[in-house]
Symmetry: C2
Subunit: 385 residues, 2 copies
């Protein structure tokens, strides 16, 4: 149940010495075809890492034969030299594997910002990974892209129609809109053109990764790639393709949520009866980013007043005296004022569901987030330099 679940893919994960711990830190995912169509979605951050700038160009060709990924360094804010490092990596991978140009090699990096990668180690790692490429290499690849993740994230969606979607992702902090800080490679053995893949991937990201907002911070390196080998010989409809890719992305997004840095709660914010889906997402996101809401939930405090204060910071359509709020199905606020006894809200579990009824229409959306805990502060004040 990894990137190598669909037919036509091999992968590898090796220790190139980029991480001081000696853990796996370099991965390859190879599409053996017969097709090599691809699509990609990238961070909306205007400060983009070198591998993002590179892979955005690669994906325009709609053809990707290999993805090379490293942890242990983001290669972001590294100037022209950093971009050259990415370019050299792609060229080296293409020459080692043969039968392709550097323009068919996507590159992803994750780790600290602002430092150049140790290229001799990285290229030696590519040699090792090339030799290790195997159908069974998906798990090692997923492990090699971990940073502060405590476990690899992998997925497999078997459609029952003879084709499959597989995937892997990493990301445990800096999770935010327009993609969590994450790298994600999805694979499928469906026959699908680049435009079909692009449509499926954009729609899937829109309702999954884009609605995961762990800590409101958008990364420089976010990348989601979808590669199709066509090896199943089956060509699904656009609807079938989008549905399967969305299922895979949803599954991975929930794994990211469940492994977010230092959380004690996994919070689904469901905004209902909104004037538009955009309004629902805007309100959900504002609540997800509110540190007072997040600390209250860490403290097991059903503080609906802070939720209302967050809603009030948006320009969504609503009247403040028509807002209803439930936490874990207890409607503690109705018509903008106290309703059911807050003592009835049980916040002892890991999963929390906040429902906000805007009373303004019939659209809805769910945004996922985590609480703000001592462990989050610890991990993010200690990480890095």
């Amino acid at each position: 149940m990894t990137v190598t679940s669909p037919k036509g893919f091999r992968a590898a994960g090796v220790a190139a010495g980029l991480k001081s711990t000696g853990a796996l830190d370099l991965a390859l995912v190879v599409n053996d075809g017969p097709d090599a169509t691809a699509a990609g979605v990238f961070t909306a951050n205007r400060v983009k890492a070198a591998p993002v700038l590179w892979s955005q160009q690669v994906i325009k060709g709609r053809a990707v034969k290999v993805v090379v990924l490293n942890s242990g360094g983001a290669n972001a804010c590294t100037g022209p030299g950093g971009f050259q490092d990415t370019h050299s990596t792609a060229e080296y991978v293409a020459s080692r594997l043969g039968g392709m140009g550097a323009g068919q090699v996507a590159v992803c990096s994750t780790g600290l910002i602002g430092e150049r990668l140790p290229m001799p180690k990285l290229l030696a790692g590519v040699d090792g990974a090339t030799k290790a490429l195997a159908k069974a290499g998906g798990f090692a690849a997923a492990e090699a892209i971990m940073t502060t993740d405590t476990r690899p994230k992998v997925v497999e969606v078997v459609t029952g129609d003879g084709w499959t979607v597989g995937g892997m992702a990493k990301g445990a902090g800096m999770l935010a809109p327009s993609l969590a800080t994450m790298l994600c490679v999805l694979t499928t053995d469906a026959m699908a053109g680049g435009d079909a893949l692009d449509e499926a991937l954009r729609e899937a990201c829109r309702v999954t990764f884009d609605r995961l907002d762990s800590d409101g911070c958008m990364s420089t390196n976010d990348t989601v790639l979808l590669l199709a080998s066509g090896a199943s010989g089956v060509e699904p409809t656009q609807e079938e393709l989008t549905a399967a890719v969305t299922r895979a992305c949803h599954d991975l997004a929930q794994q990211l949520l469940a492994d977010a840095e230092g959380h004690t709660k996994q919070i689904a914010i469901e905004v209902v009866n909104a004037d538009s889906e955009d309004d629902a997402v805007i309100v959900g996101r504002e609540i997800a980013r509110n540190n007072l809401v997040k600390t209250a939930l860490f403290g097991k405090d059903p503080n609906w007043g802070r939720i209302l204060a967050a809603v009030g910071c948006t320009d969504a359509v609503f009247e403040s005296d028509e807002l209803n709020v439930a936490i874990n199905d207890v409607w503690i606020c109705r018509a903008g004022a106290a309703a059911e006894d807050r003592g009835k809200v049980d916040l002892s579990g890991v999963e929390v569901r906040i429902t906000v009824d805007l009373n303004a229409g019939d659209h809805s959306a769910t945004v996922w987030t985590n609480d703000l805990s001592h462990a989050y502060v610890h991990e993010n004040s200690a990480y890095s330099s």
Copy 2:
């Protein structure tokens, strides 16, 4: 050096029993004239507390004779009954003091959201405060509006031209744009019309309280009032009035920053060479709200990569390879990449100055914030229910 510093004002602070601790929790500020002109600025949150809705109406008349303030309860999200409580309070104050209508009584409340105020206690407190009104009552009033503040905030600006501005404020958390969660009453014995006061107050707030963003959370109750008695007999120019009120607001804003919940750092984010002042504020605000930047500074980590990632989330005018960043005057990032040795940055002190050079124009602005610490999480997960 309080609201009673200017001629023509009396104040009082008493314990009405709204706080379970028995601390002072109800304040009156009375303008004895001869003038009673006033201006006000209120939260931009669309979920507004009852006293905000009331005082917004009062201030339209540009005449305020008394401000009654309470801590121990925000009277926010309390429905029509909560608004009636505010109305009754104003009527009661007007009848007890005489010579005015309820429409000249502004009301401010602060504390927990979502609970009705204990009106019998509150009105008995008004009785006590009325008897305690004195020229020396300014400090007690400042103490009575504290919530999680560890100390009262007061100010006095003596202009040297025979007139003075005095003030008090409260606010230690939920500090954010479009006013920190705070109550602030400013007084002056200058002769000034309502429009002149309004212009002075808006400009002062724009460059002080509006640029204080402790934790990105905007309150339902923020209120800043400016009352003029005219008792000095001096009519300053608009420029002089604005300058003095701005000095008073700046001083109080810095006191709020220095008393923010659980902080270990007071951070000035100076954005220079921006295309516009708006751009400078937007970039400063984005950095101020970034939890990864805030936790890094708590950890004494000069993590300029996180600062660049925050800048990249804005739509300000800049090119990512032309950004320069200094922390405490060490230019650790130039042209979007590493420059001076980060080891040179000394983050051992309380005060931190981040300078971001956008290289896009000649405008600048400073936004102030705090770090994100264990104590912040503790205080905000424990506060309330």
